[in-house]
Subunit: 112 residues, 2 copies
DNA sequence: GGATCATTTCCACAAACTTCGAAATGAGGA
DNA sequence: TCCTCATTTCGAAGTTTGTGGAAATGATCC
């Protein structure tokens, strides 16, 4: 992941509704959720939700699939993992950052 | 870390200059860098840099310390680790997200 | 084809963000 | 005290983001 993609993904998650939305989709798992169900769960008007879904999709963090009349959204786990890997790389790359859940190895660092 | 803090941290990093700035401070390590040196390294005017430094500081991702006439900035590693932990929690909490560098354990999940 | 349901696009507006020159602040040195 | 250096604050302009109602799209059923 390059820094431009990372900025897009970070910006996509840096918003109350979108972070809640992404968490909801992560919880929903492989089945995903329909746009309408998401709007209801989050209490956000459809048009606003559609805007946020587009933002997350533009950042590559979620994917959509049409099923009959509804559109199912799913979290894109590999994209999220790539973001976390990028942040760990930038957190631990050059200096003392051992412990606290940041135990990336030197080998992993070089290939990330 | 709660979602509000996560949003602040994500928003602070979701900007070209600030992401570059944070990476620079991570590379600089424990010695940190003076504001002027950062501005020169990034090619950003002092007043603009000061704005971005304040944003990162507001999100708790960096810390400052006066040394004689200059002000030294340092990355706040624990804050960054907390952010990564929060994202891993939200990435892997409920469903299949094994592999791809996302190997948080169930025990870690519960305490994060 | 016509009705209906789910979702998106359009639009306009308010709020927040980014930028950077100029002036202000604050710490040391002479 | 006065001067200088490092940094921040102020102010004003342009840009981007978030919001939600109304209209448009697209798929399904009768």
């Amino acid at each position: 992941m390059d820094s431009t993609s990372a900025i897009d993904a970070l910006g996509a998650l840096a918003q109350e509704h979108r972070l809640a939305l992404f968490r909801l989709l992560v919880q929903a798992g492989g089945n995903g959720m329909a746009a309408g169900a998401i709007a209801e769960a989050l209490g956000v008007p459809n048009s606003s939700l559609s805007f946020h879904l587009a933002q997350l999709r533009g950042a590559g963090l979620i994917e959509q699939e049409r099923q009959h009349r509804t559109i199912i959204y799913r979290a894109n786990y590999p994209a999220m993992n790539a973001l976390v890997a990028y942040l760990m790389e930038n957190c631990c790359a050059a200096s003392g950052c051992e412990g606290d859940g940041c135990e990336i190895t030197a080998d992993e660092r070089e290939t990330a």
